[in-house]
């Protein structure tokens, strides 16, 4: 019951959003999410959006790994 999954908001009606999970669309309650826009990603758990997915933060963390892993590669070449 606890599997929460990310999806993209395609429509908003009051406290409900239609969320697209790679082609499958379902309703989700958005009571706890402020300033939600069509196109945002949300994490949905038992029919409720529990948080927005921060695309910028996702990109930043991918860049951070690239940096971390490439620096480490240089380190390990010296080992």
């Amino acid at each position: 019951m606890c599997l929460a999954i990310p999806g993209k908001v395609v429509e908003i009606r009051d406290n409900l959003a239609i969320v697209d999970y790679g082609g499958v669309r379902r309703e989700a309650r958005i009571d706890f999410i402020r300033d939600l826009k069509v196109g945002d990603y949300v994490i949905v758990h038992t029919g409720f959006a529990i948080e927005k997915m921060d695309e910028e933060a996702a990109k930043r963390s991918i860049e951070a790994w690239d940096e971390l892993l490439s620096l480490d590669d240089l380190d390990s070449m010296g080992d």
């Binding site: 019951m1 606890c2 009571d31 706890f32 038992t46 409720f48 948080e51 790994w65």
Partner: protein, 366 residues
């Protein structure tokens, strides 16, 4: 957006670093996950088998339906027996099948009682709106991530005066369970902290465990790269002898968490001592509706005494699995007598139960 989080080449690079760090540490280290979704990622992607021999991953009590007390399930069933014509009980699909010495919700359904499986408490609410002449009770298990939707839905029911909608709260808090294991002496070198519970309670909801019990934590996402990276971050902390809480799942978890959800939970619920099936009573680990909203809690309305019942069938080692003391393969019933089709204990019933996850992904547990 998430394809990088499953990228094979990135995974290889992280694994290489994990091996380097593990070698520098030398001794065995044990990390625990406390979330069925993490356990699913770890087992489905064969992460245990990929790790160095001295890095062990334990699975903790990350399955809310597994730890829901037998007595509460039986009490709900007894209430339904009294109100056969008048009551509809809803619950999640795995809760529906959880066995007790007095049967399951699924058994009641086959005896003609009105029990429905729902995906969301919102579905139960809609059933209540359509059946105003009946009492609709959502038997409501789950950690903070599920308590928030319950609070949201109940709030609407209260505001709109939907009085035939009730819950039976068996909601639980996650950090006190980890604290309980640490106090009981489960040896841990780090915690793979559940990302979705953390979307609600924030990084700050976990800080006290690191401060008081000196356990490093990494709040982790659920893609394989998230979990590998979290393991690497824990190893780095150990090697540098740093005890901190770090957040790997920055795309979803904020330091303060979801304050809107926290406000609703705090308005409706109080934190009480509560029983966990196969673990016992854990202090301040349960959510109970406050007295002023007590009319929405079905167990306040019907006074049903339930005798204490055994948590598990003889031979079932679900309790040790939930404590992270053994992996399912160490239980003699696993895969022989106990399978998802014929589960003996709750850990084999739920999609989040460690036993079912191990059974489903076969030999990938390493």
């Amino acid at each position: 957006m998430l394809s990088e989080f499953r990228d094979r080449e990135i995974a290889k690079k992280i694994l290489k670093r994990i091996f380097e760090e593990a070698k520098k540490i030398g001794k065995e280290v044990r990390f625990m996950d406390v979330c069925g979704t993490h356990e699913d990622t770890i087992t489905r992607f064969g992460i245990r088998a990929l790790l160095p021999k001295n890095v062990k991953i334990l699975a903790g009590p990350g399955c809310p339906v597994c730890i829901t007390p037998v007595e509460d399930i039986v009490r709900m069933m007894e209430i339904l027996k009294r109100e056969k014509e008048k009551m509809i009980v809803t619950t999640f699909g795995d809760m529906y099948r959880i066995p007790t010495p007095k049967g399951s919700f699924a058994d009641m359904k086959s005896e003609g009682y009105n029990v429905k499986i729902v995906y969301s408490i919102y579905d139960s609410y809609k059933i209540a709106m359509r059946n105003k002449e009946r009492i609709v009770v959502h038997f409501s298990p789950g950690f903070e991530t599920t308590t928030a939707p319950t609070a949201g839905m109940l709030w609407e029911a209260i505001e709109k005066g939907v009085e035939n909608f009730k819950i039976y709260s068996v909601h639980r808090l996650t950090p006190p369970a980890v604290e309980y294991l640490l106090r009981q002496g489960t040896a841990l070198n780090g915690l793979i902290t559940p990302g979705h519970v953390s979307t609600i309670i924030g990084v700050r909801g976990w800080e006290y465990l690191t401060r008081e019990y000196k356990v490093p934590q990494v709040i982790s996402g659920f893609e394989p790269i998230d979990v590998l990276l979290s393991i690497l971050m824990l190893l780095k902390m150990l090697r540098n002898e740093e005890i901190r809480i770090e957040n790997e799942y920055t795309r979803a978890v904020k330091y303060k968490g979801n304050e809107e959800a926290q406000k609703k939970i705090e308005e409706l619920f109080e934190v009480v001592d509560a029983k966990w099936r196969a673990l016992g009573v854990i202090q301040r680990s349960g959510y109970s509706l406050k007295d002023k909203y007590g009319d929405y809690e079905i167990s306040n309305i019907y006074d049903v005494e339930v005798e204490e019942l055994p948590d598990l069938e003889r031979g079932c080692r679900c309790g040790e699995v939930l404590r992270g003391l053994i992996l399912p393969t160490e239980c003699p019933l696993f895969g022989r007598v106990c399978t998802p089709r014929h589960p003996v204990g709750p850990c084999m019933v739920s999609f989040e139960g460690t036993c079912q996850i191990f059974y489903k992904y076969g030999s990938l547990y390493g």
